[in-house]
Amino acid sequence: MNELKNPGATEKRTLVEEGTTFKGSLTSTCPILVKGTINGDLEAPSLTVAATGSVSGKVKAGELKSEGELSGEFDVDKVVLSGSVKDNTVIRAKALEVKLSVTGSKMQVVFGEVQLDIGDMPSREKAEPVKTAENGKSVPPPAESA
């Protein structure tokens, strides 16, 4: 693990370079960029997992951006996901962003057996019933202007 200054930015961040495997607990006050592998617990203001990177374990972070492979338990404020999320993974966050891929059949993100707890618990309030339609019978859509 190296403490490097990112050449493209003024901000310092912790870099786990490709080919590096880190096992154990890692706490950092600066953002972490993972191009290699982390197995263990991790706490940081932000975590970026590159396409070559993977993180497995318990993670607490302000922001998580991943294009790599995730597994374990993630407690974060904001998540931007692509790449893959492995089986038995739990992601708890205030906000999640996953985009649909534009290019061909490529999946933006591949989910295994995953639990997502995102945002507040949705209320189960129901729509105000006004009238009952017959089962299965449809009504015309609202008029559309040409």
Partner: protein
């Protein structure tokens, strides 16, 4: 030759006298204090007004051809119908100035501040506005043909019916500008920002918009014939009715497009449909095409214990309350749960494309129920959407999209016997990447 000396002009201004219709051609009034002065219809051809303080001055219909006004303070000045052809207005302060119908042909306005200025029907062809600040300026019906507008700040500018053909707009910022019915033929606009701009019926024939940011721009009924949009960002752009024959869309970025006639987001185009819609391979009116196979469940309706089946190609929109219903979708069927739609204790099966803007709750936990959504080809939960329940992916895996703001209590599982990681690696290989090899 000026009929008044510079000192006489300054004295008259100090006394509050008007200097209307005077011959002041070639006069040197650099750095003079002339605030609020009245120079209506004056002949000021070639005058030197560098750094002059002309705030609130009245220069209506004045002839300022070839005048030197660099660094002058013309804030809130009245230059209505003034002739400024070839004038030097570099770094001039023109905030709030009235330049309606002014002739600025070939004028140099580089770095000028025109924020909030009025330039309706102004003649600006061949002018240089490089790096100028035109935030909130009004340029309706203005002629900006062959103008240099590189790096100009035109945020929230009003340019309805303006002509910008053959102009250079590279790296300019037109965020939220209104360009409805404007002419932008053959513009050089690499890296142009048009985020949220109104471009309805705009003519962008042969425009170079490579790398431009058109996020959420309204391009309905725009003409993009032979335009270049390589690497442009079109996410959320409204594209209903565009004409784009011969346009180049290589490498565009677009998570989704809005192809609804009213630009209300009711017809979303996603993923592999995007290029087809832009290039005209798919008719630009999918709503109409599907109208014969469209089902709409309106607000206030309640359906209970119903079993519904929708065949391939149908579009189903639900703004109602569904309770304990089973919905089977054919391949490619679009199911949209509208922002007022609520599905309680329901199950959706089949390889359809599901978009949830409202709420979906599957059956309560603890009853060993199957997943609420089974085998969907695509599942999108938008910013206003909520999903509580289990989702069993299709055998070929489900495509997911979640917008920030969505609420989820969701368990995703794979179809029995399918290993998502294996599938992921196969997908990567098929896409020509070596992701799996790296691992």
């Amino acid at each position: 030759m000026a009929e008044l000396t510079p000192d006489a002009v300054v004295s008259k201004v100090k006394r509050g006298e008007k200097i209307d219709r005077a011959d002041l051609s070639g006069i040197i009034l650099s750095n003079a204090v002339l605030e609020g002065a009245s120079f209506r219809r004056c002949d000021m051809v070639g005058a030197n007004l560098e750094g002059a303080r002309l705030r609130n001055a009245n220069l209506k219909s004045a002839n300022l051809c070839e005048a030197f006004l660099s660094g002058a303070d013309l804030r809130d000045a009245n230059l209505d119908n003034a002739d400024l052809e070839g004038a030097n207005l570099q770094k001039t302060l023109l905030t709030g100035a009235n330049l309606s119908r002014a002739n600025l042909e070939g004028a140099n306005l580089q770095g000028a501040n025109l924020a909030g200025a009025r330039l309706s029907h102004a003649q600006l062809d061949l002018a240089n506005l490089g790096g100028a600040d035109c935030t909130g300026a009004v340029l309706t019906h203005a002629d900006l043909g062959e103008c240099y507008l590189g790096g100009v700040k035109m945020m929230k500018g009003e340019l309805t019916n303006a002509n910008l053909s053959d102009s250079n707009l590279e790296d300019a910022d037109f965020t939220e500008a209104v360009l409805a019915d404007a002419q932008l033929r053959s513009v050089k606009a690499r890296g142009l920002k048009l985020v949220g701009a109104i471009l309805t019926k705009v003519d962008l024939t042969k425009a170079n918009l490579s790398g431009a940011d058109l996020t959420n721009a309204d391009l309905r009924n725009a003409t993009l014939t032979d335009a270049k949009l390589e690497g442009a960002n079109l996410t959320g752009a409204k594209v209903f009715g565009i004409l784009a024959k011969g346009a180049v869309f290589t490498g565009i970025k677009a998570d989704w497009l809005d192809n609804s006639p009213n630009g209300d987001g009711s017809v979303r185009v996603v993923a592999n449909q995007i290029l087809a819609v832009l290039s005209g391979q798919v008719p630009a009116r999918p709503a109409d095409d599907r109208s014969a196979n469209r089902r709409y469940f309106g607000r206030g309706d309640v359906l209970r214990n119903a079993s519904l089946q929708f065949d391939e190609g149908a579009t189903v929109e639900i703004e109602s309350l569904f309770e304990q219903c089973t919905i089977a979708l054919g391949r490619g069927t679009e199911l949209i749960v509208g922002s007022d739609g609520v599905l309680h204790g329901c199950q959706i099966t089949g390889a359809g494309n599901i978009t949830i803007n409202g709420k979906f709750f599957d059956k309560p936990e603890g009853k060993k129920n199957p997943a609420g959504i089974v085998g969907a080809h695509q599942l999108v939960v938008t910013a206003s959407g909520a999903l509580v329940g289990a989702v069993q992916q299709a055998p070929e895996l489900t495509r997911f999209a979640f917008e920030p703001g969505c609420q989820l209590r969701m368990k995703i599982s794979t179809a029995s016997g399918v290993d998502a990681s294996t599938r992921s690696k196969n997908d990567s290989r098929n896409d020509g990447t070596n992701k799996s090899a790296k691992r």
